[in-house]
Symmetry: C2
Subunit: 146 residues, 2 copies
DNA sequence: TTAGATGCAAATCATTTGCAATGAA
DNA sequence: TTCATTGCAAATGATTTGCATCTAA
């Protein structure tokens, strides 16, 4: 008895020790709506575990990246957001006014990736779009004020 | 007499004082091959003006951005590069192995911008691509080693 | 038992800011 | 003269790291 649990634990982080912090952080990332910053993840984790440190959050995020569990994205010009890796390929629109992040996807991006491979012989490992602008809502509000 | 010079100076930075630091920095950015980091700009400026400070470099870059003279781009995950604004629309490929930055342009990107406007009502002010991978050279070298 | 993880504090690194001194107009 | 700019040093904010202590296996 107990066999199944041991196996399961061993696998969860590819043989790396399963700690309560790692379990907590992974579940919070999965619960997060799409993407979450290290700081916000730390805030939420602190509610469940008062003594968890920011360093652990960063180290765990690093580990999750290496294990391919999460994806790191730089949104805006300052800090990173993290999201569960198996979420479908998509990009983000960051509204300069309300700060909301809107997800979208487009087949044009994979076409672009193909183009780069063929025309420049580049072997792509990552392709991200960084976009700024005003969302529909904020664009409307601005034009009403004018 | 002198009228022309005064006019010219007034215009150069839209009425803001023309200092030797600003002149130096602008000329160095224009001489730079496409893009340059704040740090490297500071290094080059220091050769001509020993006492120039990094703070001035950052403040001047900030001003140039506001005046629309340069464009700020985040390359890699850490720091920014700056480039003269009237350079044609293009994007960068950052090689993960040799670190070289390769410029390229593609009409697909403006198509994508159009798509976003129509499908999400987004009013775009900036669209950038962030790409990582291995350049042709490094890809070849890696496969020779295998 | 022991390699690897954690918490804490201090360290980095890019960028920003307060302030007194300086310089352009 | 006067207001903006500069240099310097200290402050920020995100992220990383050294180290002594814990803990999963």
């Amino acid at each position: 008895m107990g066999m199944r649990n041991i196996r399961k634990n061993r696998k969860e982080f590819s043989g790396r020790p399963v700690t309560s912090q790692r379990r907590l952080l992974l579940s919070l990332i999965r619960k997060a709506d799409g993407h979450i910053s290290a700081k916000e993840l730390y805030r939420r984790a602190s509610r469940k575990n008062e003594s968890i440190s920011l360093a652990t959050v960063y180290r765990t995020l690093q580990l999750f990246k290496e294990l391919g569990l999460v994806e790191e994205r730089r949104l805006g010009q300052v800090y990173c957001h993290y999201e569960v890796k198996d979420s479908p390929d998509h990009q983000h629109l960051v509204c300069r006014s309300c700060g909301n992040v809107i997800d979208f996807e487009s087949p044009l991006l994979s076409k672009l990736a193909e183009e780069l491979k063929h025309e420049h012989g580049f072997n792509l490992t990552k392709i991200e779009l960084y976009i700024e602008g005003y969302c529909q809502q904020c664009t409307k509000e601005a034009s009403n004020m004018a």
